[in-house]
Each structure stands twice: as structure tokens, then as C-alpha cells.
């Protein structure tokens, strides 16, 4: 007789030949081969507490330093989506504005295709992050206005439609072209929330580093989106006129990104442990690195000259800065969620105000 003969070893220890698995969580999946002693699964194994259970000061209370909040379960693809989604939104806006002026039609087309491509990539990233990927269409099952993710899903879907039809119709003439421009205009309108809703998506949470920066985070996200879009366009071959548009757009984005970064810091400055989340660890490095890259990109962008190399360098540093901002915010949120004191402090300070 072996030990496992009395159960399935799935952590429930119910032999399905004897017991019925019909409970609410009976189909909750567990990893294979977990019968070995000490093999933990599900929630991450708890750390061993190496102090006395009651070793604490009355002003320094936590429950064994365990987080109050659950750390966001999202992986790297989510901030990557923030980057490409923002890029799509800003590109669509630029494209829409440009189509209404006498500027280059090629730039408009590039904006439309860039936005379309970014949305396709972004959608892929989002699906990749889902726990149940096959159910991605459920995102459009309802519209829930209290959920920025629901709002964003619809914006993203509509943007995808508008941008792709605008892009497809870009090379046409007459009525179709007008239809394309109409789509482009719609894509431009949708581009505004598309570039910024992800900031609300983050701040509409219990995570201190996100919710405490809720007023300024949209500015950071939108300006980083402008930077991202412009920087990507900078990597493409542009004529002088196009390059000037992109340079102006990018410069505005980079300057705004730097400025809104400072605004974010100021918004959370009074909340020590939340601010710390942006200063320390992975988030801190990304945050400072992003700032340096943005400064570099900004300077490179405004330096005189039209060399391809200069634009390329501007684009690369700008893209990196835009991505770093999103990853920094993402990781700051994770770090602050892990820190129970950040949660307590953020709520207590709110109550005091």
C-alpha cells in the first residue's frame, strides 16, 4: 500500500472513485505531481518568520510583514501593452490631425498603419496575459463603465476597427478616401482615451503607488504615448517636412513626459512609503533611467541638423524612455502592493486629509 492510494494527490485528497468532485472549486486546476512532501503550489510559499511572533513596536504594526493587498498578477506584457497601446493612441491622434492639414499623406498613412499595428500587437499582448486566453472575447461581453478595463477594451476594439479601416482605405480615392478619413478622424478621437485610459486602469485600484498618483499619472501616460509614437516615427524614413512634424510632436511629448514625471513625484511626495516605491528597486532604476533617456532624447531631438543618425538616436532613446516610464509605474505598483505599510500609510494619510 502506498501513501497516495488514499487520494488523488491534487491537494484535495479525495479519491474520485469514492467522492464526488462537485464543489464550487472542484475544477480548480492544480499542478501535476505535487504529492512529494514540501511541494507547495497555488499561492507562493510563505516566507518563514525569523523573529519572535510579537516582535513589533506599536507604531510599526504589520501582520508578519505580509502584504495586505494581493500583488498584481500581471506580467511584463501588461506594461508592454501600456507602451504600444499609448503609442497607437498618439499615432492615431497625430494621423487624424495631419489628415486635416496639408501635410504629407504618407505621414498620415504611416500613423494609421503604426496605430493599427500597435493595436494588433497590444491585443496580442493582452490576450497573452489572460489566465484563460480562449475567453478573450468575454472582454466585450458587457460594457461596465465602472471598469476602466471594460471601457478600455471597447476603446481598443473600436480603435482597432477605425485605424485598420482608415489604413486600408488610405490608398483609395473619392468616397472611399473620405470614408477612410472619417475613420481616421474617429481613430483620432478614440486615440485620446486610448493613450490615457491605461493610467486610469492602474489608478482605479487599491495599489498605493497607482492610486495615489491618479491625477498626474494620465499626463505621464499620454505624454509618454506621444513620445513613443514620435520616437517610432523617428526610426522611419521621413522627408524633412514629416521629420519636422515628428520632431515637434516628439519634443512636446518628451518635455511633457519629463514634466509629468515631476508632477507624479510631487503628487505622491507626502506619502513616504508610496514615494519609496518609485525610488527603490526595479521601479526606481526604471524611473531614473527613463528620465535620463527622456532628457537625452529631448536634447538629441532639438539639436540642429537633419541627419538620419540623429533621428535614429532620438527615436531609440525616446522609445526606451517611453517604455521605461510605463514599466517603472508598473513595478512601483507591484512593490507598493507588497509593502503592507505602504497600504496602511496611504489609507491613513487619506483619512487624515
Amino acid at each position: 500500500m502506498t501513501e497516495v492510494s488514499s487520494g488523488t494527490g491534487d491537494g484535495r485528497w479525495i479519491d474520485p472513485s469514492m467522492g464526488m468532485l462537485i464543489g464550487e472549486a472542484a475544477d480548480q486546476k492544480v499542478p501535476e505531481g505535487r504529492t512529494e512532501r514540501g511541494h507547495s503550489e497555488g499561492a507562493a510559499p510563505l516566507p518563514t518568520w525569523d523573529r519572535e511572533p510579537e516582535a513589533r513596536r506599536s507604531d510599526d504594526i504589520t501582520y508578519y510583514d505580509l502584504p495586505v493587498l494581493k500583488e498584481p498578477v500581471w506580467m511584463w506584457v501588461v506594461p508592454a501593452y501600456f507602451y504600444v497601446g499609448g503609442l497607437a493612441g498618439a499615432a492615431a491622434v497625430l494621423g487624424a490631425v495631419a489628415q486635416g492639414s496639408s501635410s504629407s499623406r504618407r505621414l498620415v498613412n504611416r500613423c494609421r498603419w503604426t496605430a493599427t499595428g500597435a493595436i494588433v500587437a497590444g491585443t496580442g499582448l493582452l490576450i497573452y496575459d489572460l489566465g484563460r486566453k480562449e475567453r478573450f472575447l468575454n472582454m466585450l461581453r458587457v460594457f461596465r463603465r465602472t471598469s476602466p478595463m471594460s471601457v478600455g477594451s471597447w476603446v481598443l476594439a473600436a480603435s482597432g476597427g477605425a485605424n485598420s479601416s482608415a489604413a486600408v482605405l488610405a490608398g483609395t480615392d473619392g468616397l472611399l478616401r473620405s470614408l477612410g478619413d472619417l475613420s481616421g478622424a474617429g481613430a483620432g478621437l478614440l486615440g485620446m482615451p486610448l493613450a490615457g485610459y491605461t493610467a486610469v486602469l492602474l489608478s482605479n485600484s487599491a495599489v498605493p503607488a497607482w492610486k495615489e498618483a491618479r491625477k498626474t499619472l494620465p499626463f505621464l501616460f499620454v505624454s509618454s504615448a506621444i513620445n513613443a509614437a514620435a520616437s517610432l516615427l523617428d526610426l522611419m524614413e521621413l522627408d524633412d517636412d514629416e521629420a519636422r512634424v515628428v520632431k515637434r510632436f516628439g519634443t512636446a511629448g518628451r518635455a511633457a513626459e519629463l514634466l509629468s514625471g515631476v508632477m507624479v513625484e510631487r503628487e505622491i511626495a507626502g506619502i513616504e512609503r508610496t514615494a519609496r516605491a518609485y525610488k527603490e528597486g526595479v521601479a526606481g532604476s526604471l524611473w531614473r533611467g527613463g528620465e535620463s533617456l527622456a532628457v537625452t532624447s529631448l536634447i538629441l531631438g532639438v539639436l540642429p541638423g537633419h541627419s538620419r543618425l540623429k533621428r535614429f538616436a532620438t527615436g531609440v532613446t525616446g522609445s526606451a524612455a517611453a517604455a521605461a516610464a510605463k514599466f517603472a509605474v508598473f513595478h512601483a505598483g507591484k512593490a507598493s502592493a507588497r509593502d503592507p505599510k505602504a497600504t496602511f500609510e496611504s489609507q491613513r494619510s487619506r483619512a487624515a486629509h
Partner: protein
Amino acid sequence: MAECHPVGFRWVMEAKRRGATIIHVDPRFTRTSAVSDLHVPIRAGSDIAFLGGIVNYILENERHFVDYVVNYTNAPALIDDDFRDTEDLDGLFSGWDAEKGQYDISSWSYKGTDVAPAAGQREIFSGEPHSERGTTAGAEKFDFSLQDPACVFQILKRHYSRYTPQVVEETCGIPKDLFLKVAETLCSNSGRDRTSAFCYAVGWTQHSVGVQYIRTAAIIQLLLGNIGRPGGGILALRGHASIQGSTDIPTLYNLLPGYLPMPKATFDKTFEDYVKFNESKSGWWAEFPKYIVSLLKAWFGDAATFQNGWCYEYLPNLTGDHSHMTTVADMADGAIKGYFVMGENPTVGSMHGALHRKGMRELDWLVVRDFAPTETAEFWRDAPEIQRGEVRTEDIKTEVFMFPAAAHTEKDGAFTNTQRMLQWHHKAIEPPGDCRSELHFVYHLGLRLKKLYEDSMDPKDRPLLDLTWDYPTKGPHQEPDAEAVLREINGYKVDSGEVVEGFTDLKSDGSTACGCWIYSGVYKDGVNQAARRKPGREQSWVASEWGWAWPHNRRILYNRASADPEGKPWSERKKYVWWDAKEGKWTGEDDPDFIPDRPPSYRPEEGAEGTATISGIDPFLMQGDGKGWIYAPNGLLDGPLPTHYEPQESICENPLYGQQCNPARMEWKRADNPYHRAHGDPRFPYVITTYRLTEHHTAGGMTRWLSWLSELQPEMFCEVSPELAAENGLSNGGWATITTARGEIEARVLVTRRIPPLKIRGMIVHQIGLPYHWGSRGLVKGDAANELISFVADPNVSIQESKALTGNIEAGRKSSGRRVVTSGRPVEEAVDQTSRDKPAAAQRPAGSHGVEAGKSQEGEQS
């Protein structure tokens, strides 16, 4: 109680909601302490000093319930002039027989007479029965003013006069003011209007002087008038769902069902002898013949006749002590061939697991019935000594049979709880696979044995062949009908087969059969009374229609004491049972535990016999004299009054007496059972105590194989104070190794203020807490705490001392150098044993217990 009896604890919390004060006395601050009003940390093994202190407080401050004490207890009884107290003899009572190593109790008796105890050692005395036992009606000489120096009350006062708050502090480590608060709270909550209850579990029993712990509580409760009254009593919390049931219909070697003694080979030679030595001429045990005859009729049916002494001689006879530890020691010596282990996991749950396994290695065969292949069933696979390579599996010749057992949800039957209440459980599902109930196993084993011997003409096989063994069976597995067994336990009229109404219907003429007289009535009217489930809100607050309590569905035993001598309730608030003069009978909320029509004014005439000797003010009718025994003139092997003795292994000298330990304790002086020094052993400077956790059940057979319970307490750990941790470099969450002379174990460390160091006479005493649930098998594994515990026992009930011993602790995991004593070289050198006993008691004969009595053993160290 919250730790180990959370379901019963619901009523404690209910009482607390209604204003009750909860006091918790424990070395540790447990889940019970967490919700108590008062938590008192105590040095493990010092409870008699603590409780004796309360007795002294009551007497010094005259807080006893005078009317109750004078009328219902033996406080006024005068004691034999030859009696000498421990105060006179420095820790020994009069009558110590150095040659036999036990007390001659004749000097403890009432002046000029003798009396039968209701329970206890009715049967075991040194070699011969106490001839006069049960011939007269209790004490003949009294001093109802309680002033005579020879009366129990004055003896008690002298005995406990030195158990002052100061001595309590120096012995138990309980600060004086905390002790006084307990004593005062208890006294002020007792009397006519109020009652207090004691709850205890194995924290009290598992000591070499365990029975006397409970005796001390009984003295307190009798002095305060808290017995036989609602809200009073002493509640023994049982470790399993039906441990009460397993003593009522016993799994104990020295009892027959209903607390009838097992015949002794030495003197209970015939039925007449057996009855003569066990029947009491006074009190309720005068009914004894009715119960044994009905039992024999139930077992042997038509074969049992008056002429053949009701087949009395079929019963097995005791040739000596066959208690658990004695049996295991005999096993280790190769004297026992086979062993049935049913629903128990002794290599984890009992003391000195290594010695148990050594015993099992010497068996020819072993049968284990359990839910899972426990450490006992698999002692040959990965026991510690096999893991260490000291024993090889292939060298073990024992044949092991593992039978999977059905769970309680898979069989019909009854649980008997601490209130003596039987509650029936119905089978919800067929047991899976080869799992069968115990009833099935035993019944079909019996059938096969009968079949095996059916042609035998040998007279020695008659008991088996004459045994009534005809229960109806049902279902695909031929499961015996459990209700049919219950019906037999209830009893029936032999001629008509009609069930009896209760034990008062039983006869000694062979016309009735009854499997257990105290359970008689459980199948009254042919109805399974234990299966009644009428909700409490639909009946009186006593809830007599929920389940069934023995005897006679009485919810509080000796409840005549809830009324005053005139039969009126002590108070309106505490009224329970009273005398209805108009109707001429006892009545009340509960079934009166008294002769229904005996008026309070009744006094027995001179020469009265049997139940006629029970006067109207004798609530404790099972006793020969009908009184609550503050002083036990007989029935106990280690003294008429509880006396503080140190555990076999202690960190200090006995602060009260020259006699260090219970002189009558059972010791096993064997090379494989070494003891530490009596006190102050420098190698083992700390007190160890063991206990259970809520999350696991005893030795873990029911819980360590279940993921939902295992994850809650996944590893063996020890609990130590921050001070002890600092002293020995232990860190929370790290590892520690705990050692005694018997073995060593490793455990994770939980540093907590919940197990505080205590101050005793300027010395800091550290205590180490060890839960004992883990073993080498199951989903979660760990070392078993009981590997550390020695074989030493209380003399009255042969229970081990696992709640107080000494040991050492060091940081880190097990070393490989040390070994358990049963399989490697002896760990420690011989230790001086003399300091445990005064010279008068020191020359105790070795091995005076068990079939090997008197045989000197190899490696003996005395």
C-alpha cells in the same frame, strides 16, 4: 480545552457570554487562555501543590460550604488512631511496606470499621483480598462539629496547612497575588447560589501521581459544595470521541463492562468468592450480584446456570498487571507473541516509541486496524532506528497484518462523551474497498474462531463455543446490526426476550441478561434512546431527550446533593432535584440520582443491609457510606490524601517533603528505559511537557493523511520562550534538537512568550512545549515527541508520565552521534536513583509489575 475540545468549548464560551469567569491554568498560554478571564502559568507537574493551596485557602478562611460538607462528605468521620500523615512521616503515609514496595492501607481506614470504595482499586491489593471489605455501613464514629483531631476535616487541615500561597509560589512558579485571585474567585463563585466546575484532560492524568491530581480537585469541589449540582462537577475531557465509552464497556485489562472487576486468579476462584470479595454490604454496590449474573447470562446464554456459577469460570483471570507499559516491556523481553492494535498508533502516541518498536520487533505477529498505514503498522519500514541504520528491515521477523478500518461515518454505533451521554451515529455511506467496522472485524473473527473449534471436546474451548454470538447481519458485507448489540447491552428478560427498562429491573436469579448494567435503559421500550435528537429549544433546559446518559438517563450524577438535607433546593437559582413531600418522591429537572421514594428523613436501622443502608442524606450512593470522600480510606494505592510529589524527573527537589516522588509509582528499571536524575540533572536542565494541537488528532492517524488539516500544522515544532531561545541560540523558524536519555528528536522552533519561564525559589525554570502529532509516515512528517518519554506510571491506573519530564534543547538538527537506547549503545551512564525516595521507601523491589514480577533484569541499575 479550546485547543483539544473546541466543540465542547462552545458551551464554555456560551457561559462566558452569560457572565461566567473562565480561569485557565496551564504552563502555556493556549487558545483557551486567549479567551479566558484569567490565565495562570504553572510549572508542569506541580498541580497538587497548587490545588492543595486552594484547599488550604478554603480551610484557613473557612470558605467551605458547611452544611454540604457536614452532611454529604466524610469530613466528620473519625480515622483510625494508627493513621500517620505525610506531615508526620516527611512525605510517606503510615503503612509503607518496604518489602512489597507498596502501602498496607489498614491504618488509613475509618475508626473501627471499613468501607467499600465506589471505584478504584476495589480488587488489587497485595496478594489477598481485603477480607472485611464491604461488611459494614461506613464510618461509625463522627464529629459533626468537625473539631476532633482524628476527624477527616482536621486531618485535611493539618495535611494542607503548609500549602500556603508562599509555598505555591515557590513550587508552581505562580505569583502569590495571581494564586489568591484564583482561590478567591473560586470561593466567591461557590455556595448556595453559585457553583463552579473544573474541566481537565490528560494534563492532569498523565503523571506518576495523576489520580491524586483529580482527587485534589474533588476535595475542593466537595468542600465548596460543587458536586451533584448544576454548573458544578469535575469534567474529564476525553481525548477521543468515545474514550468514556471505552472505559464503560472497557478496553481496559482489569475491568468488565460497567466497572465490574476482572476476576483475579489468586483469589476470585469461584463465583461465590468473586461475589463475596466484590459485593458491598452497604451502598449501591450491594446490587453487584445482579449485574454480574446478568452479564454472564448475556455472554453465555443458556449455558450459564445457577449450578455452574453462571459460567463464571469461563472468564479470563488476571495473573498480574497487564497494563499497557507492562505488556510492551514484556513484548520487548520476548514474552508476548501477538498484538492487536485497533485505532491506536502507539509508536507515535504512547510513551517511549522506541521501546514500543523494540517490543513489536519481538512479536510473531501484529494486527493493525486503522484508516491509514500508520507508523505502528509500518514500524519496520522507516522508523527512526531504521533510518539511522541501527536496525535492518530484513532482520525483523514480525508478521504484520494491516486491516483498513471504516470511519464513523461508514458504520452505525454510539459515542459516549464526557457527560456519559451516548449519541448514536448512523452510517452515511458504505465503507470503501476492504474497509470494515470494528464490529464487523470482531464479529467475523469470533465466527471463524468458533468454526475452528466447533468439533473440540476440550473443556478449555467451552467458553468460546458457549459464547452467545448470534447478531443479525445486513448488507453486502454481512455487517452485524449495531442496534442488536445495543439491545443486548441494554438487557432483556431471558424468557420473553423483552427489553428491560433499566438496571433496577435486573435480577441475580438468571432471569435477566444485560451486557452493561450502567447502560441499561439505553434501549428502553425497544427504542434506540441514544439516537434521540430533539432540539434543546423544544424541551426543558436539561434536554433529557437529546441522546441518552447513563445511568438511567441522568444528566448530573449524584444530583441528590443539589438539594439540602431536608430535600429542598439549596437556592432558587440552583434548584435541580428536590423532595416532593406531597407525592412522597424525588422530582426535579433531571432524573433524580437517588432511590425515588426514599425521604430525606430516612435513616437506616441497625443491621440494615444492601440499599436499605442508604440514608436520606447519602447522595453519593455508590459509596459504601453514601458520602463524598474527601479522605479516601481505601481504593487508592498511593495515599488517602493527595500529596505533592515531584515528577520522576524534575528540575528541583520536593519543596515540601523529604520523599521526592510518589513512593508507590511504577518504575521500569531497564537498560532500555533509563531515567534522569531525580532532580537537578545537569544534562537535562529544562522541563518538557507535551500536548495536542487543534489541527491534529492525537497520534495523527486521522489527520496527517488529510491535506486540509496537514497544511494547517505541517511540521513538528517546539515552543520555547524568548529567554530560553536566547540562552541556547535558538531562532524562530529554525531547528532545534531535543534530547532525553531515551532518545532525541528534531523540531522547528517557535519562539513565543506564550510559554514563559517561571521563577521558583530564585531559580529560573524554562519549559519546552512539544506537540506530539507527527511521525515518519503521512503527508506531513516529523519526529514524535513521545520518543523522549520514559516508562513510569501512576500506580492506580498505570498511566504514563508524559506531561512533566526533563530534557535538553540545542540549536540545529539531529546529530548522528546519539542513538535511541533500544537499538544502539546505551546513551548515558548509570544515574544515582536513590534521591527519589526516602530510605524507608528506597528499597522497592524491582520489576514488581507484570508477569515478570520479581525477575531481575539484565542491565538493571538499582
